[in-house]
């Protein structure tokens, strides 16, 4: 029986790494070949056993708390270093329980800003930041139809220095909204749009302080929609993009 060529790929087969078109042929062979099916069975059993046995260690509550405290302390100390702050926010997100413990002591307004910052960083850290990838606003805007309960306008960007990268649906306080990502030089700026009525009313009372936020951010209400523009780009860039949105709405 000439099985050597199949056997050499058995690991790939059970790991699902064989190209799709080859998979069907492989399946047919394994079903009909006693030797290969027995080998595949052992490999699958071993895979399962390692999967179970490998999940062995859990961090202690004390260590988790210590880490949360360390990370929570970073943003305040390192004001001015945008990337460090972005990283701090990213790690805060990764070490998720911090968020709930930390936010519990803050006002609703700060919670919203913090969540916006988290959404921004988490999205940029993702391997697929946008669900609709297009630089064309006429492609991105219609993509949201039927996904969010409102419509909005996207600005014309010609000669503005900004490039639309795409968009995705997002949620803030269980409210669906639009998240758009723009390129500004080497920086990325997020624009979030939600229905105003779904969010805390006091968002405009106190101007947003970058010192508290760690990012540059602008927020305003227009035509019943709440806009947030946030990023580690310069305040001027964030402001310019905000102005383009204000003019388009």
């Amino acid at each position: 029986m000439v099985c050597e060529s199949w056997k050499s790929k058995l690991d790939m087969y059970i790991d699902g790494e064989v190209p799709e078109e080859e998979m069907r042929t492989f399946d047919a062979h394994v079903r009909g070949c006693h030797s290969c099916s027995a080998d595949a069975l052992v490999l699958v059993q071993m895979k399962r056993a390692i999967h179970v046995a490998g999940k062995r260690y859990t961090p202690s509550a004390e260590f988790r708390k210590r880490m949360q405290q360390k990370i929570a302390a970073k943003p305040r100390r390192s004001f001015g270093l945008a990337w460090t702050l972005a990283a701090a926010a990213a790690v805060i997100l990764v070490v998720g329980t911090l968020t709930s413990a930390y936010l519990g002591t803050r006002s609703g307004r700060d919670q919203v800003f913090s969540e916006i910052a988290d959404l921004h960083v988490a999205t940029l850290a993702s391997s697929s930041p946008v669900d609709v990838i297009s630089t064309d606003r006429h492609t991105v805007k219609p993509w949201f139809q039927g996904k969010i309960p409102f419509a909005f306008n996207l600005p014309e960007l010609q000669n503005s220095g900004f490039t639309l990268l795409g968009g995705r649906m997002t949620y803030l306080d269980q409210t669906p909204g639009a998240h758009l990502i723009y390129d500004a030089g080497k920086h990325h700026i997020s624009v979030f749009i939600f229905r105003e009525q779904s969010l805390p009313a006091s968002l405009d009372k106190d101007p947003v302080s970058p010192k508290q936020l760690t990012f540059n951010m602008e927020t305003w209400t227009q035509a019943g929609l709440r806009y947030f523009v946030i990023g580690d780009a310069s305040a001027t860039n964030v402001d310019n993009l905000a102005k383009l949105f204000k003019a388009a709405s």
Partner: protein, 162 residues
């Protein structure tokens, strides 16, 4: 949260010591925080942070000790698989004896242990493993195959011991 818990689990498997694992995870986050600018948007964040943890481990005292050059026979030509019908390890695995599998895993060289954990526990694709371990895809495949064989060998030994 998943990354934190899983990084800690991975760190424990690498170091075999909870205190060292805590230091390793702590250092990993500190480095990630410091070097976030080196993270390329659109690349894999998980592979990036695991790579930091692994590199930190490799340069630690325990890591240097544990990863003394891999003997040539580990990376050498593949041995022929024994004819498989009912093997000792398949019986062991069917019995789901976690303890024996853990012991066999612990006794593997770090290079084999880490690749098995990344593939089976972290469920990383070959591409992610390649990025995390900074090795070519071909090496991922061959090392994974040898790691599995080594684990089977270890399980057979455990079985022989009774």
């Amino acid at each position: 949260m998943p990354h934190f818990e899983r990084l800690y689990n991975f760190a424990c498997w690498l170091t075999h010591d909870r205190q060292e694992a805590e230091d390793l995870v702590q250092e990993t986050y500190a480095k990630a925080l410091k070097g976030f600018s080196s993270f390329q948007l659109g690349t894999n964040f998980r592979a990036w942070i695991y790579k930091i943890l692994r590199n930190t481990f490799l340069t630690s005292r325990t890591g240097l000790k544990a990863t003394a050059p891999v003997p040539l026979d580990l990376e050498g030509e593949e041995e022929a698989l024994p004819a498989v019908k009912e093997t000792p390890e398949s019986i062991l695995l069917r019995r789901s004896d976690d303890q024996l599998v853990r012991q066999a895993l612990e006794q593997l060289p770090v290079a084999y242990r880490e690749i098995l954990l990344l593939c089976e526990v972290e469920e990383m694709s070959y591409q992610e493993i390649s990025a995390t371990l900074a090795i070519p895809m071909g090496t991922v495949m061959s090392r994974l195959s040898r790691a599995r064989k080594a684990l089977r060998g270890g399980l057979q030994e455990q079985f022989a011991k009774g």
